[in-house]
Subunit: 335 residues, 2 copies
């Protein structure tokens, strides 16, 4: 394949001139000449050589745990919109919920494959958050993470999941439910814990007892939501409402109810979380909590751009508020 030298020779100019033309400089006639020759020879600037010299990749990456979760759609869209305008090449990296893959993604910063990264992670915690800090590269998290030493910390944009679950739980309480179960992710993970606390704090505020036999671990998947509901129904037939930690879990739970001839919301009210498209599609339509994914993507991308442009701007931490969306899967408790 051809290089700027080949083009230079063919056009009868120097390589510098070719290089300059491709970055918008040079005289009109050389512009024309060089572009014509280049097109003819099907030439394009070798990106690696350019990056090596300029130390700028003009690429950014968004690392998501799961491409197949509708939750990330709007976030990707939001981020994409911002990057598009700024002329950055936008890459997606799929971490499969694995810490190992996330670390691999971060390595790409070290290797100068990308200029910066938005990281959607469930894994970073005190022990391993260091790898981000260590490398002083532009990384924006979409989880809350304040450094333990009260330092400057990280850039992040997040939606308050604690509040989200709290809103859902409160909603059920206001509807008169008294025995409310919770299906959520592992509380050993940051987000899992936050959600669980949203549930328990709402109960506490209402001076309800916290009964841990009503709490089931369901790891954000439909299958686990289904299993949890089955398990719940065997032990506690008198539960009238369930808070779940995401829409998929809620859907699984709903399927289980249908199988057991339990009416929603008549016998059991159910709330989801994330306001995925599905939640507005199922019967009955799911009461859920909108998590502002698009806005997260947009803000995270904007912050990333700013940090890449100027590493010295102070870190920013942004919190967005979730919004309860009441639909048909919740109703007043039958008393």
């Amino acid at each position: 394949m051809s290089t700027i030298y080949d083009i230079a020779r063919a056009a009868g100019v120097s390589a510098s001139t070719v290089s300059r033309v491709f970055s918008g400089q040079g005289s009109k006639q050389n512009q024309e000449l060089v572009f014509r020759v280049a097109k003819q020879m099907n030439f394009a600037i070798n990106d690696s050589a350019k990056i090596l010299k300029t130390k700028k990749t003009n690429r950014v990456m968004l690392a998501v745990p799961d491409i197949c979760n509708p939750f990330y759609f709007k976030m990707i869209e939001g981020a994409n919109g911002v990057f598009e305008q700024s002329g950055y090449l936008f890459m997606l990296y799929y971490t499969k919920h694995s810490l190992e893959e996330e670390l691999k993604a971060l390595q790409l910063l070290n290797q100068k494959v990308v200029d910066g990264m938005i990281m959607v992670s469930f894994h970073f915690s005190k022990e391993n958050i260091g790898v981000i800090n260590q490398s002083n590269y532009p990384v924006v998290l979409t989880n809350r993470y304040d450094s333990p030493d009260g330092q400057d910390g990280f850039d992040y944009v997040y939606v308050d999941t604690h509040l989200g679950i709290k809103l859902a739980t409160r909603h059920l309480i206001e509807l008169g439910h008294r025995k409310i179960a919770y299906f959520g992710g592992s509380i050993r993970e940051q987000t899992g814990l936050e959600r669980y606390l949203g549930y328990s704090d709402a109960l506490r505020e209402a001076s309800f007892p916290l009964d841990n036999s009503l709490v089931y671990e369901a790891n954000y998947s439909e299958r686990e939501g289904h299993a949890s509901m089955k398990a719940l129904l065997e032990r506690h037939r008198d539960v009238t409402a369930v808070v779940t930690s995401n829409d998929l879990v809620a859907l699984g739970a709903m399927t289980a109810c249908t199988e057991e001839n339990i009416a929603i919301p008549g016998d059991i009210a159910i709330t989801g979380m994330d306001d995925t498209e599905l939640s507005n599609r199922v019967t009955p339509r799911l009461t859920t909590v909108a998590m502002q994914e698009g806005e997260i993507g947009r803000l995270a991308a904007t912050i990333l751009m700013e940090r890449i442009a100027d590493a010295s701007v102070p870190r920013r931490q942004i919190r967005l508020a979730p919004e309860l969306i009441v639909r048909e899967s919740t109703a007043r408790a039958q008393s």
Copy 2:
């Protein structure tokens, strides 16, 4: 940031040695020494420099029109599984259904950003397919495309959408429907045309007349499916079945029916296409056609790997058969 020279100096060896250690050569003690120093200095090989010298990026790209369409999920997963094992960095590019973006994606081959690409395109046709051929880079299409001159052509893996739509149409004919409408994408695009022909060929086989006033252009989106159904109902109340060209269009059409108090499948039977998760979720569950997306992704990735490894292997064209999935949105015609 540090380079191999810094590491070399710190470790008291030559840069060559550092380079060799990072590609698995060198003596045991040097391996140990160099890795220790490198870790300490948080060093990683600069990818651009490496690529510049080796002319190998070890990256591949999958360009999809739409990240937010569940249809592509399984395909992405399928491809990802293959690339993962081969040590390639897998990047997603989002073309937004735009030809311009697709061309931009292809430019990345020229710029040596990736070694090869899987391209999911609705746009390539006689006029512009040349850009792929021109650059002699490894590209695997997921559409059928045989070069007009009967040449070797392209690598591609596709599912026979013509047959898919035909299966759906036949299914309705067998159920006794006589007046069957069709909502599909523009027939000016390759895939749109194929689908339309699936519909018309099925009618012809059954010796049904082809009434073009029953054919509506709905470009793969829910909104257009909705609009088409509204339009259809205004003109042809006597239609008893509709074939659509994808699940989203079918969903839109179903919503329109609900709004107009038309029962599915009682009054109108509807078929979708793609077997997306949604189709199994709506009420009534949608009769659709499974398109083997996962298999497409897997095969396309495998072929791409082979072509990257050896540009001289003959081109391969693979056709997969779609499968009709009968659910609740279709029933025998009321006569």
